[in-house]
């Protein structure tokens, strides 16, 4: 997908409204399609976890980060207490902080206020971050914030619809199709993390967490996410520091 009309040429800066529409029009892409499929999967998962329609829509709109939403849905399904669910969700959301730290200096304009920046950051999740890093640096700074709003308008609208459809269809799809939707979430998470986070420490953390998670789940169900994260993440971090650097450049 291209659709980055107007960014070439130094003098021609789009008006705010034109930049907004440019972001909206260029939002449909492979990344958006996969995200929509994953929110379909989340809607179905929420239904299967016993989460009603409006809490599922509320999560998509106001959490807007699939790993946290899936964790919250499974915490609700297992009847977890609010502090336990909050701890598990917040650990998955920690990764949003470095993403936001990187995004904001690229995205914000010279006069973007702090409250506006917080609103912008609410929509920062992995897919939005990857696409923003790819698209925004090529554009005049004045166009970036309205372009981002246009882009996010498309994603939030389509993914609220996808949550609704996934939730509504989960009960009527039959075993084969709803299995397919539920299967989208884990495969999308793995592949998008492999595509977006190529550092060696990240790959080690993925491998350790994946290997440790099911074992801890068998012995301490309910704590397996936090424990696997702490054990696997610490091991990956230490190994990443101790092991000699084998690969250079961009980490591949």
């Amino acid at each position: 997908m291209t659709g980055l009309g107007g960014q070439e040429g130094d003098g021609a800066v789009l008006s705010r409204r034109a930049a907004y529409w440019s972001g909206l029009r260029s939002a449909p892409s492979t990344a958006a399609f996969v995200l929509i499929c994953s929110f379909l999967g989340f809607g179905a998962l929420a239904h299967e976890s016993g989460v009603a329609l409006w809490p599922a829509l509320f999560m998509s709109a106001f959490i807007w980060a699939l790993p946290g939403q899936v964790v919250l849905a499974s915490e609700i399904a297992s009847g977890a207490a609010v502090w336990s669910a909050a701890a598990a969700v917040t650990l998955t959301a920690v990764r949003l902080m470095p993403l936001t730290v990187v995004l904001m200096p690229i995205l914000r304009g010279e006069r973007t206020g702090k409250a506006h920046q917080v609103l912008l950051a609410h929509f920062c999740a992995v897919t939005v971050w990857v696409e923003s890093m790819r698209r925004l640096p090529k554009m005049p700074r004045a166009e970036r914030v309205p372009y981002y709003w246009g882009f996010c308008t498309f994603l939030i609208t389509t993914n609220l619809a996808a949550t609704f459809v996934g939730h509504a269809l989960a009960a009527r799809l039959g075993v084969v199709l709803s299995s397919g939707l539920l299967f989208l979430t884990p495969i999308y998470f793995l592949l998008s993390m492999m595509a977006a986070s190529p550092s060696r420490t990240d790959r080690l953390a993925l491998a350790f967490g994946f290997a440790i998670g099911p074992v801890v789940y068998l012995y301490l169900p309910g704590f397996e996410l936090i424990l696997s994260g702490l054990i696997g993440g610490t091991a990956a971090y230490v190994l990443g520091r101790v092991l000699p650097v084998a690969d250079r450049g961009d980490g591949r």
Binding site: E48, F58, T92, A93, A170, P186, L191, L206
Partner: protein
């Protein structure tokens, strides 16, 4: 609003919205001075990555809902097929997802017939 609705809303706001957006807000203010290369960020990011990987493993090996009816070997095989195709297809997320789904749905169709 019923009491049950208010309870749900409070639960979602604390365990969902607050637990998530606190890191985004922290990111906005940290962006004014803190570097993504600092060691604390690298450590926390590794913990979060391992946590999401554990979640992925749980969804594959201890699947929710009707997906649990599919044999675990089929789920694991479809997952592995998606990952291998992703690596072989220049890290195309779409290709990997299509391959994984194709294996899963084909397996379910064969087993179901």
């Amino acid at each position: 609003m019923t009491v049950e609705t208010i309870g749900w809303l409070a639960f979602l706001l604390v365990a969902g919205v607050l637990a998530t957006d606190i890191w985004r807000v922290a990111g906005v203010f940290a962006a004014l001075r803190v570097s993504e290369d600092s060691e604390v960020f690298k450590f926390v990011r590794a913990v979060a990555t391992a946590l999401v990987a554990a979640l992925i493993a749980r969804l594959v090996f201890f699947s929710p809902g009707v997906l649990a009816q599919a044999p675990v070997l089929l789920r694991a095989g479809a997952f592995a097929a998606g990952f291998i195709v992703f690596l072989g297809a220049r890290r195309s997320i779409a290709a990997g997802i299509l391959a994984g789904e194709a294996v899963l749905l084909a397996g379910l169709a064969v087993l179901g017939s």
